[in-house]
Structures are given as C-alpha cells and as structure tokens.
Symmetry: C2
Subunit: 277 residues, 2 copies
C-alpha cells in the first residue's frame, strides 16, 4: 500500500554510555543518518538516548541534561533532520524549570515540533527525574497526528488512550525496556503492551528500545513497529544495536480505521460506565 501519505518509519536501537554526552550524540546522529539512508522519513531513538538512564540522583541526571532550546544534542539532531529531510523523535534528559524531566522531543526538518515529558516514572527514576507536567501532547503534522509516550507509560493504558482521544494516528515510544520477571515463551510484556495499545486504540505505534547494560541493568531491545490493528510490521529487533523499518500510512488509513466495525475502540467506548479514580 503506497499512497502519497504513506512513508517509511524506523526505530533505532542504541547503547548509550551514561554521562558521555559526546559519545551518545555521535551514535544517535549516526543512527539518524542510517535511518535516512534506509529511506526513513521519521526515525525514533530510545529513551534517555543523550545522557543515559540509571542515575542515582538528581545531581547526576542534572549533569547529563540539556535544554531543548540550546542543548548540543538537540542542535545536532535538528541539523541532521534538516540535512537529511527526516523527522527525529528521541529521548533525552531535559533541563528545564531548574530540574530534569525524562523527555522526548519530536523534530522536523524545520525544527522542534513537540516535547513530551514522561508522566509515569518507574521505580528508581523517581530519584533522578521530575514527573512530566505537559500531559500527552498530540501534534498535527504532514505525517499525521503524532503523540509520544516513554517506556513505562505503555504500562498505563491511559497513556495511549490519551493520545488517541486527541486524535493521534501514530504514537512514538522511546523506551528503555528491561526484562520482566517470569518471562514465558511468548512475546515480552513490553511488546504485548505495545500491541495491545495499538490494537485498542487503532493507532500505529513505533517503540524504540535501547540495548546494553548500564550499572547492572540490562535492556532488552525488542523494538517494534505495530500497525493500527496491533500486529507487528517490524520487529521485535534483536538485543543489540540495530535498526528496523516499516511503511505506514497514518493519514491514508484514517477512513479505513473509522469505518472498521470489527474493532472500533474509540467509537464503542462508554465513558459513563467507567469508574473514576
């Protein structure tokens, strides 16, 4: 299915070095170029791809954070996006309001289009980051309406639902997925939460997860690109640096999704029946 609105999306798995902003900038910019070489119009990078993730406290995460306005990695991503005519979504430690958010930025060839700050902090992240205060912004772009979530957010169905209720066609999910205790002989919970979220919201989801080990914490990779029916278009990627590609059509599929009577997860909702809390 190639229409004028279809395009290739990529998820790139990197292995950031904690605190080494220069090395991480270099590897993420290389990933952007690799995605562009592969024909991608949009590439998703992992969570905290700029500075690392396993910080013990805010002092450490502050030292590795940068501003979306004048941070050097954001500037490098903007330059690469402009040079290669590609969109970039990546996770970064965001310096703002005298604190650090676990954020994701969406960059077009023209510059920064949207910033999302992780709403649901996981476990020890609470020591190193401040909870997001921007909700789940969805921006209308030439590629479709795009929302962002980060990693653990996918464990809360409200996250992708919040994007979908605002009209998202596509959710980008920079992630640092870790192994889940008790893994059975089936897809990882990270993958199943992504599939369930895509299917139950009829949105495309592109989740890019990091690999490697940081301060004893192993990351699984397993990046996936899910179609709006939930099934995988690409991935899960292996547990090493890799890049996956898929063709998607967020805008061109709107009519088909709206007219779907087999699975109508937004049209068939009944908010008046739901418990609040």
């Amino acid at each position: 299915m190639t229409t004028s609105t279809a395009f290739t999306i990529a998820c790139a798995q990197t292995d950031p070095v904690i605190g080494d902003l220069d090395a991480n900038r270099e590897m993420t910019v290389a990933a952007i170029h690799e995605a562009a070489d592969g024909g991608a119009k949009l590439v998703v990078l992992p969570e905290c791809a700029t500075g690392g993730w396993a910080f013990t406290g805010m002092d450490e995460s502050l030292a590795a954070a940068e501003s979306v306005v004048d941070g050097p990695t954001i500037a490098a991503w903007k330059a690469a996006a402009r040079e290669r005519d590609i969109w970039v979504c990546g996770g970064f430690g965001e310096l703002a309001d005298d604190t650090v958010y676990n954020s994701a930025v969406l960059i077009s060839p023209d510059g920064v289009e949207s910033v999302y700050r992780k709403v649901h902090l996981w476990n020890t992240e609470n020591n190193a980051f401040t909870p997001g205060n921007l909700g789940f912004p969805v921006v209308d772009t030439p590629l479709g309406r795009i929302g962002m979530i980060i990693c653990y957010d996918a464990w809360f169905p409200e996250s992708m639902r919040s994007c979908a209720l605002q009209g998202a066609d596509l959710v980008l999910a920079p992630s640092d997925w870790v192994p889940n205790p008790g893994q059975q002989d089936m897809p990882s919970l990270a993958n199943m939460m992504t599939i369930a979220g895509a299917h139950s919201n009829q949105v495309y989801v592109a989740a890019a997860s990091r690999v490697g080990v940081e301060r004893g914490q192993r990351f699984i990779g397993e990046s996936v690109i899910a179609g709006h029916d939930g099934w995988l278009l690409a991935g899960p990627a292996p547990a090493h640096e890799a890049i996956i590609f898929a063709e998607i059509d967020p805008i061109g599929s709107r009519q088909e999704r709206r007219d779907n009577i087999f699975n109508r997860p937004l049209g068939d909702r009944r908010p008046e029946a739901y418990a609040q809390g």
Copy 2:
C-alpha cells in the same frame, strides 16, 4: 503457594446450541460438576452460555433470554453451586426491563451475588442486546473482591481498570472470542488483551471462551487464567470443549501486590495527566 486463602479456579469451554436452552443447561451444569470434581472452588463459563450468541435481532434473543430471578438455567446453576459448594460465573442472555442484556452472573453456594451487563457491545450484538447499565460492579467475597467483564470489554482498557479502581483482586471474563484478522505467530489478541489487562492492573483474570461454530461464526476457545503479573497460570485451552484449572490467591497476594515497586500500575497512575473523552 497454598495458604488458607488460595483456591483452585477453573474455566470451562462449552459449545452452546443457539436457542436450545435445555441442551445448554445440561452442558453447563455438567461443566460445573466437572470443575467441582477437579477441585475448583470457582468455575467460569463462557459468554451467552445459556442460549447462544449469534442472534439476528431482539426477537430471537428475547426468546432465549431468562431472568436472573427465576430463570431455569440460573436456578440449575444455583442448585449445582449449593450441592457442590462451588462458585459459578457464567454468561447468559438476561431478560430484564423488557429487554435483553448480554450479562454475566456470579453465584455462590448461597445464591446470586452479582450481575454484570456487558457494557461494550460488539458489532452485530447491537441488534440483539441492550448495552449494560450497571457499570462494572465489584463484590467483596470470601474468595476476594471480584469484578466481571465480557469478551469485547477486554478490548477497552477502561473495563479492567474500572474493576481494579474499585479494588478488584480477580476479574472473571466469560467470552465468545472470535478469530482476529491477520493473526501472527504469537498469542491471539484475545489472550494478549487479557495478559495486558492482568499485568497493567495487577489482578488475576480468568477468561472462559466458547468453542464451536454458530451461524458461520467460529469461536477460538483459548481460555486462559492469568496471574496478577500477567503471565499465564493455565491455558490457552485448545479449540474444543475443555476445562482448565489453576491455583490462585487473590486475598493472600494483596500485600505482595501493594508492595511491588517493579510494577505498580495503580499507585503510579497520574489521572491529572490523562485526556478525558
């Protein structure tokens, strides 16, 4: 893990004959006895286990419906529950308010404990049933706090979340699962939605799905019992009449679930960040 609060739960797959209330009563009562013979303290039967499902209109579904007060199948389930000291949850076409709901009943050895009416009607069900008007009731029982959902409800994360927000330890899901288009080499979406719901709410989920073919619609079985971490304790069952068992501990696991910092899907929620609609 055997504590005084642990017990065996069963999911029984039946193949109802549309409109044949007597035959369906006989097969469901037989399933209750088989579950009791296997040591179950609670058995879950499929959706619409009493009268069938693929009705073309309300006239047909009315003819196969019965009241929870004096319906003959409900009476038979109550008698079997009392005789065998077992709890029964089963789906039935409920005659009430001069209409028909796609309902589930929870019966203890002492009688009817709770009724749930399917909130999210799927596709052609809208021709034959009236949408549920009772929300998602959760009842506190000696086995734990129990909520119910039916089939397509699992596609809406709000369903299990509504149960969990009201304190549910265990969600029972009578279902008539159908094949999903594009099935990939991984668990069915029905199974993955169940797993995702259990994991993202830290609740046990017991989903009993019917088998067979009714008016051209095939059902997949694949009943599962998921632990509060999402992983399967039993199933997926094969695509024919079958019964699966697992030991669960809804009450005894409360402390462990509350103290879990790896996955804390209720404690880490941030309702103020969620889009409404």
